[in-house]
């Protein structure tokens, strides 16, 4: 047991709260770099949760998954984002279409809705309410970020937050997917990020802005 065991218990009991915190903070974040930092923090919380589960359930594979989460989502992706922000020399603002106050209220509503949706299921699948609600809240928040932020970079970030949510939901309900699938998903994310990065470069090259709300010439 010892120190590691205590840390594990603390993490497992409180990580949902931290995740809700990051959600609320993401809702009010005004700068892209802040949002990226918050995403990194969020991923770190999830990585910690993976390690804790691995320790508690004695799943050696899960350590690898945790390491992957840490390497990709905490280190690689935020770094790539910072690089992009630097290279694109774009405005730092996320260009939200809702005011921060509205965003907070919407984020709160999302959290409430997640609890409401989970409530009826908690008993049925023997999963604690809080982590599952956090996972669904993450998914919805990611979607909300994609909808309400006009910068193409923020759309990528929203997708990543959404993916965090899916990952967490899988982890909680089934103690993680098989390692191969997990690795495949990470590969997907990297490829998606690469593609979206290339596209954002192209968008900013061609249109000299990164505001997706102005890209409406393609409609039929």
């Amino acid at each position: 047991m010892g120190l590691v065991g205590i840390a594990t218990e603390k993490i497992l009991s409180s990580f949902s709260v931290f995740l809700f915190l990051t959600i609320l903070l993401l809702a009010v974040a005004r700068r892209i770099s802040t949002s990226v930092l918050l995403f990194g923090l969020q991923s770190a919380i999830i990585a910690a949760e993976v390690f804790a589960t691995a320790f508690q359930e004695k799943l050696p594979e899960a350590y690898i998954v945790g390491a992957l989460v840490f390497a990709i989502k905490v280190v690689a992706i935020p770094r790539a984002f910072f690089l992009l922000v630097k290279r694109l020399k774009t405005v730092r603002d996320v260009k939200a279409s809702t005011t921060p106050t509205q965003s907070v209220f919407i984020a709160a509503a999302i959290i409430y809705l997640s609890y409401a949706a989970v409530h009826s299921y908690g008993g049925a699948v023997h999963v604690p309410d809080d982590p599952l609600a956090a996972a669904i809240a993450l998914i919805l928040t990611g979607a909300f970020l994609m909808v309400s932020r006009k910068k193409a970079l923020m759309q990528m970030l929203g997708l990543l937050v959404l993916e965090n949510g899916i990952f967490l939901a899988a982890l909680i309900t089934t103690f993680g997917m098989p390692l191969v699938i997990e690795i495949g998903i990470f590969f997907d994310i990297l490829m998606g990020l690469l593609l979206m990065g290339i596209f954002t470069f192209r968008i900013s090259d061609t249109f000299e802005h990164l505001d997706v709300s102005k890209l409406r010439k393609l409609r039929g």
Binding site: L113, A117, S120, I136, L140, V147, V212, S213, R216
Partner: protein
């Protein structure tokens, strides 16, 4: 065991033909291959006839299960009802094929001809599949194939914008109809353990009344669209005239009948009679269809459009019989139901014969004169005597003259209406005798219509150069016409050939029905009548005094010209005048030159029917759909975030739904 295997062999032969013919045609451009293909089609038709006759007489019930080769249960079987329609398909296919061989040769280039033949054989195959299908999927496959292949056959003749528009309307209405037909099948699923016809039939009785009513209505709409019941007939006068004549003959002669088959199969075989009101619904729609169909037919000057509208009318007569049968069934009088059903089915067969005969006749006329406009024809009897004789037989049959086949079926329909007076204390007692009047009116108008058709096309003097230089059709075309004409006469004089097995069929479909006395009596009387008429005719011919020939009095003018003749427009004028409320014509007289009203050089008269189902029934419907589409289009903003918002909202609303579900 033996009979079953021969049956499977027969069906296999048919199926192999359907696949082989297009293969031969596409693989090889040689003349010999095409001849072989035509011979194969004829053989298949003949084999189908033989099999159908045996099946119809109840001597064997061939069955072919192809489920092992298809992803869904697919099997063909020939019971009595199928056999009757199989006989209809094959018996009409043979003469039409004989006719089509020289017709396609004369009208199409090498390449098109191959395609036409390939589609032609596929078309026949699809109709055979429809009438012999024993599972829902087989039926639907045949049904869709039939629509698509016939559309292809129409498009082969050309692809002008107007033609495409017409084909589009055809396909559109057929798909709506097919959706209704598919719905019929799937509505059975909760109660039946599969879409096998046997399973469906077994489940038919135990279904709740509401579902039965829905199935009946869906079948009526789905098959009604294919059959061309007004107001679902919109495609019919558009699609039939623009198809090549032999194809029109197949479409009008057989394809419409597959709809009758489907309707009989569903309402009589599967459901065992519809809800109590079903007979009334069918009767009213059929009466409207018959009356309006023949009224529109009379007003037409284009021979093929006229024939197409006349098909609408005949479908009306057939459904009058079916409606009467349903009515009798609902009132628990299977004997009357059997009589009406026999009448309807017999008329179905007769119409297949004489309508394909008339369409082939139109093909022969257009082949010789390059026109099917009645106002440009005339005097063809002297130039095309055999074609004329065959068309005359067709006209007499369709007008319902005694000794021709149309008479027998219409007579039986009349008798079934009159038998309705036996249904005491029901509305049917009043409704059915009323139908006598309507059918009489339809018959009279049909007679007028075909007097006009034959008179303006074949009698008098030619009204155009084309008609003046017309020559008799080639041998193959004449052979096809003569075969069909002989069929009309044979069934007209010996109706018992078909009536007796039809009565057995009706007894199989309607449990508890006896043998309707009327069918026996007419089958007994007609041959004797024919003998007396022929004998009297022969006697008169023998003892006739010599004819006196004299010139027609021309009111003192030096000679008669074709401009003095009754045209088709003029002939139908009185009827159009009497029924002006139906046509609501838009008349226009133009005199040229306009500044000299008393000395016109030319006067042209135009009268166009303005009753338009498009404007009244279809246009509002289409407009609603288009305006809805525009409204939906506003969702399509082109903004990524709005699209994401849709997904987000869908997600949120699903979660909310989940929350409040229990």
């Amino acid at each position: 065991m033996l009979t079953a295997s021969t049956g499977a062999l027969f069906i296999l032969l048919l199926a192999a033909l359907g696949v082989a013919v297009p293969l031969i045609l596409i693989a090889s451009r040689a003349q010999g291959a095409r001849r072989l293909a035509i011979a194969l089609i004829l053989t298949a038709g003949f084999a189908g006839c033989v099999m159908a006759v045996y099946g119809f007489l109840g001597q064997m019930a061939p069955r072919l299960d192809l489920s092992w080769a298809t992803p869904f249960p697919f099997s063909l079987a020939v019971d009595r009802l199928s056999a009757f329609f199989l006989l209809l398909v094959c018996a009409v296919t043979i003469p039409v094929t004989i006719f089509a061989a020289p017709y396609f040769d004369l009208h199409y280039s090498e390449r098109r001809r191959n395609w036409t033949w390939a589609l032609f054989s596929l078309f026949v195959l699809s109709m055979i599949v429809v009438v012999t299908a024993a599972t829902g999927f087989a039926f639907l496959v045949g049904w869709e194939l039939m629509t698509l292949v016939s559309a292809g056959l129409i498009l082969i003749e050309g692809d002008s914008t107007e033609r495409r528009h017409n084909v589009f309307i055809y396909l559109l209405m057929m798909h709506v109809g097919a959706a209704a037909v598919a719905a019929c099948f799937f509505l059975f699923l909760p109660y039946s353990h599969g879409l096998d016809f046997g399973a469906i039939r077994a489940s038919g009785a135990g279904m709740p009344g509401g579902i039965r009513a829905v199935i009946f209505l869906a079948a009526f709409v789905g098959f009604g669209a294919k059959a061309g019941l007004i107001p679902l007939h919109l495609w019919l006068p558009r699609a039939h005239p623009i198809a090549p004549s032999p194809v029109s003959a197949l479409m009008s002669g057989i394809m419409l009948k597959t709809a009758v088959y489907g309707f009989v199969r569903f309402t009589f075989d599967f459901l065992g009679g519809g809800p109590w009101w079903s007979g009334y619904v069918v009767l009213v729609v059929a009466a409207v269809t018959g009356l309006l169909g023949i009224l529109y037919a009379i007003a037409e000057n284009d021979l093929k459009r006229l024939l197409a509208y006349s098909s609408v009318e005949n479908i009306g007569i057939i459904f009058l019989g079916l409606g009467t049968s349903l009515l009798f069934l609902a009132h628990g009088a299977p004997l009357g139901a059997a009589l009406a059903l026999v009448a309807a089915l017999f008329h179905t067969f007769n119409h297949a014969l004489f309508k394909s005969l008339l369409f082939l006749g139109a093909g022969a006329i257009s082949n010789s004169t390059h026109s099917v406009n009645l106002n440009e024809l005339g005097g063809l009897q002297r130039r095309m005597p055999l074609t004329g004789a065959a068309v005359l037989i067709g006209c007499c049959s369709i007008a319902g003259l005694p000794l021709f086949n149309g008479f027998v079926s219409e007579w039986l329909t009349f008798r079934s209406f009159l038998a309705g007076s036996a249904l005491i204390n029901t509305k049917a007692q009043i409704v059915l005798p009323l139908m006598v009047g309507i059918l009489a009116l339809i018959g009279g108008l049909a007679a007028a219509c075909f007097v006009k058709t034959f008179g303006t096309a074949f009698l008098g003097r030619p009204r155009s150069m084309g008609a003046e230089h017309a020559e008799e059709a080639p041998l193959g075309m004449r052979a096809g016409l003569v075969l069909l004409g002989a069929g009309c006469l044979a069934l007209g004089i010996f109706p018992g050939l078909l009536l007796r097995p039809l009565v057995t069929l009706a007894q199989a479909l309607l449990p508890g029905a006896g043998v309707p006395e009327e069918t026996l009596s007419i089958a007994r009387i007609i041959p004797w009548t024919a003998a007396i008429v022929l004998g009297t005719g022969a006697l008169v011919a023998l003892f006739k005094r010599r004819e006196r020939l004299a010139r027609t009095w021309a009111c003192g003018l030096p000679g008669l010209s074709s401009r003095m003749e009754y045209t088709s427009t003029v002939f139908s004028k009185p009827i159009r005048f009497v029924f002006a409320r139906v046509y609501r014509p838009d008349r226009k007289v133009e005199e040229l030159p306009a500044d000299q009203p008393y000395f016109p050089v030319s006067i042209s008269y135009r009268s166009v029917r303005t009753t338009s189902y498009e404007r009244v029934l279809y246009r509002p419907f289409v407009e609603i759909i288009i305006s809805l589409a525009y409204r939906v289009r506003r969702l399509q903003t082109g903004n990524i975030q709005v699209y994401l918002l849709y997904i987000f909202l869908a997600l949120v609303s699903l979660l909310t739904f989940l929350r409040f579900q229990r």
